[in-house]
């Protein structure tokens, strides 16, 4: 469950998690009146998604520590309950039930992959829980029990593809859609295909390939992309590859000598944290689209980076977009709880609408009644040091279209 090479905070978190699992009452409670407010953390700490999700657990722990050092919330202590669903989708549902029924958490921060979110969704709806989901996703969902603090397709995927087709992005007219085989890549690519068709790109100029989680043998696919790119039109890769399969994928791109000037790739699930384990020299110029990069210059970001590196006791640790979305979600939740004067789910939900947070991405983000945030879109190029050079961004935050107009079934849906 835990990483004994890590410092004691991790161990404490694990102990808390185990304590919750055994349903023992909290041990402390000396200073604050009343029982502590419990915050569930539902992120994979092992398995193929651990590469991405571990940092999100730590972000929640950092926020909890921060709020306690300022006297807690509603005069009560806040306590994190950490569980490890181990990149195992059915286990996510079990752990969610455990958090809601056994540990009786007031709010949960969790999930990365859409398949894990889909797995816990019925549990949160049945038990009227509250989930904050911090990762960009495919949309097509809006649950009253979930607040989505990551991007919807119009806040990430579509602007990214528009950029690839622009002069600065290389005027791509042929697109290879590579993804991991589950709901997020397939839905996103369905939206992108409809979008590309609407821009006059024929199906013959779109290649689509899916691989299992943790896929490591990329030689055939990368060779096929190379050939696909040699048919006389500028080509780009749109990657919805998730988890640690990205490491061998980028290694293969580097080994087969695909340079970003020739075939740029834009990734939707690769950020600073994922690049930390890769030699980034061959990847310079490849792109990622997010709503936040560590290299953003803003006072809120400076504070975020300092707080994170102090918390994790590593001055070189990176921040990334889902961490920022976790931070924004946590702050909004705390503000909503303060406004509602309770942690009960229904009043907090009402109080969430219209909450604003001065976010590290440099803008004030607002939670709308569609349970999604308004967010700015940024496109960054990988630099040699594993950071992103922001080469394009929107004027300001844009409102989420979680029901994509590019999916025909949504035509009758009221937006």
């Amino acid at each position: 469950m835990t990483d004994i090479l890590n410092h004691r905070l991790t161990r404490r978190a694990a102990l808390l998690g185990m304590g919750a699992a055994l349903a023992t009452p909290a041990i402390h409670g000396a200073s604050a009146q009343g029982a502590p407010i419990k915050v569930g953390v539902l992120h994979s700490l092992s398995g193929t998604m651990a590469i991405s999700e571990t940092a999100l657990r730590d972000t929640v722990l950092m926020m909890v520590e921060g709020i306690n050092s300022r006297g807690g919330l509603l005069g009560r202590r806040v306590e994190a309950v950490v569980v490890d669903p181990a990149s195992n989708w059915p286990l996510f549902a079990e752990k969610a039930r455990e958090l809601l029924q056994v540990a009786k958490v007031d709010v949960t921060f969790g999930c990365w992959t859409s398949v894990s979110r889909k797995s816990v969704l019925p549990v949160f709806e049945e038990l009227n829980g509250l989930l904050f989901y911090p990762v960009q996703y495919e949309g097509e969902e809006q649950s009253r029990n979930v607040f989505y603090t990551g991007a919807a397709p119009n806040q990430q995927a579509i602007p990214a593809v528009e950029y690839l087709m622009s002069k600065d992005g290389g005027e791509a007219r042929r697109i290879a859609l590579l993804g991991t085989d589950y709901v997020y890549p397939r839905t996103t690519n369905r939206i992108l295909r409809a979008f590309l068709n609407s821009k006059g790109i024929a199906d013959a100029d779109i290649m689509e390939e899916y691989t299992p989680f943790g896929h490591s043998d990329w030689q055939g696919i990368v060779a096929r992309v190379k050939r696909f790119a040699g048919e006389g039109k500028r080509t780009a890769i749109v990657s919805t590859i998730n988890g640690d399969a990205n490491v061998p994928f980028y290694r293969e791109l580097g080994n087969q000598g695909i340079k970003a000037e020739d075939i740029p790739s834009v990734a939707f699930s690769v950020g600073e944290e994922e690049l930390a384990g890769i030699d980034t020299k061959p990847l310079v110029g490849h792109l990622a689209a997010w709503n936040y990069f560590m290299s953003v210059n803003s006072p809120a970001n400076t504070e975020f980076k300092a707080q994170w590196q102090a918390f994790i006791k590593n001055p070189r640790r990176v921040t990334n977009d889902p961490m920022e979305a976790t931070l924004v979600g946590f702050k909004m939740w705390a503000q909503a709880v303060a406004k509602a004067g309770t942690t009960a789910v229904d009043p907090v939900r009402e109080a969430m609408y219209g909450q604003k947070v001065d976010a590290p991405c440099g803008y004030t983000l607002e939670m709308h009644r569609n349970h999604h945030l308004s967010k700015p879109v940024m496109i960054g190029e990988v630099m040699e040091n594993g950071q992103f050079n922001i080469v394009w961004k929107t004027q300001g935050p844009i409102i989420a279209e979680n029901w994509s107009p590019f999916i025909p079934e949504n035509a009758n849906r009221r937006r």
Binding site: L5, K167, G220, R224, G230, Q256
Partner: protein, 517 residues
């Protein structure tokens, strides 16, 4: 150097090279501007042929160009334009994007095509190829006239063909199509297809040239596909070889086999960390091979003596017990190293692409793994055939009781055999650390594949394991372009199921008394 370039250019009659002083600095200063402005300035400097531009553009490409608040450009502690010493305090790096990077490659190509360094000239030729501009024709004609290195000439002809195709002269265009078609390069094919839309009148000639290239490429593509299949096959072979010994020879259903592979990968990580900063660091990978063998062999021996020998003849219990051991090993590694992946870096000789004869490009890491797989296979065969241990092992497998009466300590042979198989799994882990993520789950991805190979090839036959692994690898890769990665794997599994129905003993069934036991 500067003078050399200047004289060369002058001799070649490409004279009006140097921009006027203020024009040059005006253009150069725009390198610090927005991406669009940068790209234009880079192009202008490249076309000018002005040798003063070379260090500037090089610095921009390497990220060494910095910019002061007042717009002045610096390289290190000196003014980028004049070379005068300057105070670099407060300077920020000039960032570029892909568009500028592409323009830089062309511009640097135009400036460096006269370089005395062949490697630079080769890069320059490839850079100019990107421009697809008739403006480069004089430059390329001149470069071709003096170039002697065949490899660079090839690339120059390619660039010249592309530039000719971009000209307005019909005859020149046809010459370009002809030379591109003759080159046989994949890049030439791309250039031709790009030009097709804009040259309706030449479509027929272009199609003929493309078809000509395709004929040449067919062999190369088949070669590359075969390589991919062999590469996957060698990975399967490595993963399955250890199992071919423990399961194939001894008949132990070892579900912890994947975890031995995983431990081999972690051993590689530890060896790499231990040697970091020492002179031996570049040899970490070769040194990890015997280390991983020893570590996993010792563990295998302990497991055989401690657990498995009590369960001989009870396959179901063995299966459950080894499955449990696998889980314990996985969790132990997770506790010690953490759930996060560990990074094993690749030595330089395992990165990049290698050109085999016939222009077949193969990735170095995969090539080495094929070599390693074959080496391990030969080692195992030699150990079984030529050593005393191998003889004992074969004797015990054929008839345990008679072997014991001949004075062979069968218990010891069992332990050694199991240790041997485990050690091979550890060596496979060293290879896999180069192409897969080193995580506690590494082994689980290979255990099914390993059993598949051993059963398909024929239990107890090393040759079967080899043929089985290579067949499955190649078939998988042949199916992949049509069925996709997921379905190709499914198809292979279904194929094996059908095959086993017809031949339950696999490709190479053992004959004789041993097979009846």
């Amino acid at each position: 150097m500067k003078n050399l370039i200047l004289t060369l250019l002058l001799v070649l009659g490409l004279a009006p090279m140097c921009l006027a002083q203020d024009d040059f600095s005006g253009t150069a200063l725009r390198l610090g501007g927005g991406f669009g402005e940068q790209a234009e300035a880079v192009e202008k400097l490249g076309l000018s042929g002005d040798p003063r531009a070379l260090p500037l553009l090089q610095a921009l490409a390497d990220g060494k160009l910095t910019r002061m608040a007042d717009g002045a450009l610096l390289i290190g502690e000196a003014d980028a334009l004049t070379g005068a010493p300057a105070n670099a305090a407060g300077a920020s790096a000039v960032r570029i994007n892909n568009r500028v990077r592409a323009a830089l490659r062309i511009a640097l190509g135009r400036l460096q095509i006269v370089s005395p360094d062949p490697a630079e000239r080769l890069r320059a030729a490839d850079g100019i190829l990107r421009s697809r501009s008739a403006q480069d024709l004089p430059l390329l004609d001149a470069a071709l006239a003096r170039e002697t290195v065949p490899r660079i000439r090839e690339r120059l002809v390619l660039a010249q063909g592309a530039a000719r195709l971009a000209s307005d002269d019909e005859a020149l265009k046809r010459a370009g199509i002809e030379s591109l078609g003759a080159s046989g390069f994949e890049a030439a094919r791309t250039v031709l297809l790009e030009a097709r839309a804009g040259n309706a009148a030449l479509a027929e000639a272009i199609d003929a040239a493309v078809a000509r290239i395709d004929r040449q490429l067919a062999f190369r593509r088949a070669g590359e596909l075969l390589f991919q299949g062999l590469s996957l096959g060698s990975v399967l072979l490595l993963a399955a070889l250890g199992l071919a010994v423990t399961f194939g020879v001894m008949g132990v259903i070892n579900m912890a086999h994947g975890e031995f592979v995983m431990l081999g990968a972690y051993t590689t990580f530890l060896v790499q960390e231990a040697l970091r900063g020492t002179p031996l660091a570049p040899w970490a990978l070769p040194l990890a091979v015997p280390t991983a063998f020893l570590v996993t062999a010792l563990l295998g021996a302990a497991m055989e003596r401690g657990l498995i020998r009590h369960l001989y003849g009870r396959p179901l219990e063995t299966l459950l017990m080894t499955f449990g051991v696998g889980m314990v090993l996985q969790q132990a590694v997770r506790l010690i190293f953490g759930a996060q992946n560990r990074e094993v870096s690749s030595p330089a000789w395992m990165q990049g692409t290698l050109m085999l004869p016939g222009e077949i490009s193969v990735t170095q890491n995969r090539l080495w793994i094929i070599v390693f797989g074959i080496a391990v296979l030969l080692l195992v065969m030699a150990a079984i055939r030529f050593t005393r241990f191998g003889l004992d092992m074969r004797a015990v497998v054929q008839n345990r009781r008679i072997a014991a009466t001949m004075g062979i300590r069968t218990g010891r042979v069992d332990a050694l055999t199991f240790a041997f198989g485990s050690g091979i799994a550890g060596m496979a882990g060293v290879a896999l650390s180069q192409i897969d993520n080193v995580s506690p789950n590494l082994g689980t991805g290979y255990i099914v594949d390993s059993f598949m190979v051993v059963v398909f090839g024929g239990v107890g036959s090393l040759a079967g394991t080899l043929i089985g692994a290579l067949t499955l690898g190649v078939v998988n890769k042949l199916l992949e372009p049509y069925a996709g990665v997921v379905l190709a794997k499914v198809a292979v599994l279904v194929g094996i199921m059908l095959f086993i129905q017809r031949r339950p003993k696999g490709l190479f069934a053992l004959k004789g008394r041993a097979a009846d036991q």
